[in-house]
């Protein structure tokens, strides 16, 4: 089983770390570099600042968790999507821009690849996990709409990353494809201390 995470920012890096229990090779595609501000909401550590995100996450999973991992520190485009994603058993879209999501979606449909999307609302209060067969891009309110930055949204990012990881696990083990919505009230506490 080869799972390729496309985009390893807040959602992708969080979900990938929570997939470290799977008997799978995890591969990461991201051209971006780790910045200090990313440490608040993404699964990177201080020594990774300045490194390519895909490479940094690969090293963390290999060195800290012993997980088989690969990295591709490039931007996904129509020209390289087939080369980069051709060997995937599952594609996981965690990009932060509509164009890359579209490139991946079009490729997955043409190639018959399983693809699941994870996304977060701009205000950090809502997330979606949706399989590509039900994927329809939302219209942007304005071009280049900002995504969540900073640690304020970390709890919701954690919920979404965990939900995405569980859905990946269900697909790997049982072949099922579930969609979910993630809200701040989606975890119900039963006891407090």
């Amino acid at each position: 089983m080869r799972i390729i995470f496309c985009g390893v920012g807040a959602i992708g890096s969080t979900a990938a770390v929570l997939c470290r229990n799977l008997e799978a090779t995890l591969a990461f595609i991201d051209f971006d570099r780790v910045e200090s501000k990313n440490l608040l909401a993404q699964a990177y550590v201080k020594p990774s600042v300045g490194k390519n995100k895909a490479e940094a996450l690969k090293l963390q999973l290999l060195n800290l968790h012993g997980v088989k991992a690969e990295s591709f520190g490039v931007r996904l485009t129509r020209d390289n999507v087939a080369t980069l994603c051709g060997g995937a058993d599952l594609l996981v879209d965690c990009f932060d821009n509509r164009e890359s999501r579209q490139v991946l979606s079009e490729y997955a449909r043409q190639a018959g690849k399983a693809l699941v999307h994870g996304a977060l609302s701009g205000d950090g209060t809502f997330g979606l996990v949706r399989w590509d067969e039900r994927f329809v891009p939302d219209a942007e309110d304005q071009a280049g709409q900002a995504t969540c930055e900073g640690g304020l949204h970390l709890p919701l990012i954690g919920l979404l990353g965990a939900a995405l990881a569980r859905i990946i696990q269900d697909f790997v083990k049982h072949g099922v494809r579930r969609d979910v919505m993630v809200n701040l009230n989606s975890v119900t506490p039963t006891m407090g201390t």
Partner: protein, 81 residues
Amino acid sequence: MTTLNITYDGMSADMPVELDGHVSDADVRRIAVEVVRSGGVPGIHLAHLRDDAFQNYVVDRFRGPHGADRIYLRPKVPFGA
């Protein structure tokens, strides 16, 4: 019977609604404002919710496994999913 799920400010809840035929996305947004103001949505009671509170929200429509209609009114996730 249709189930309308409304997500607002990080909270989400279901409520049953009787709809006569197809309702437009604009109608779904208008209905949602009314039911949230009236306290009809469990956990989301905002008596002074603005008329345009759901202006930029997405209306998703699904048919449940037993044929029941479900409508989700949710915030946009930037760039889609």
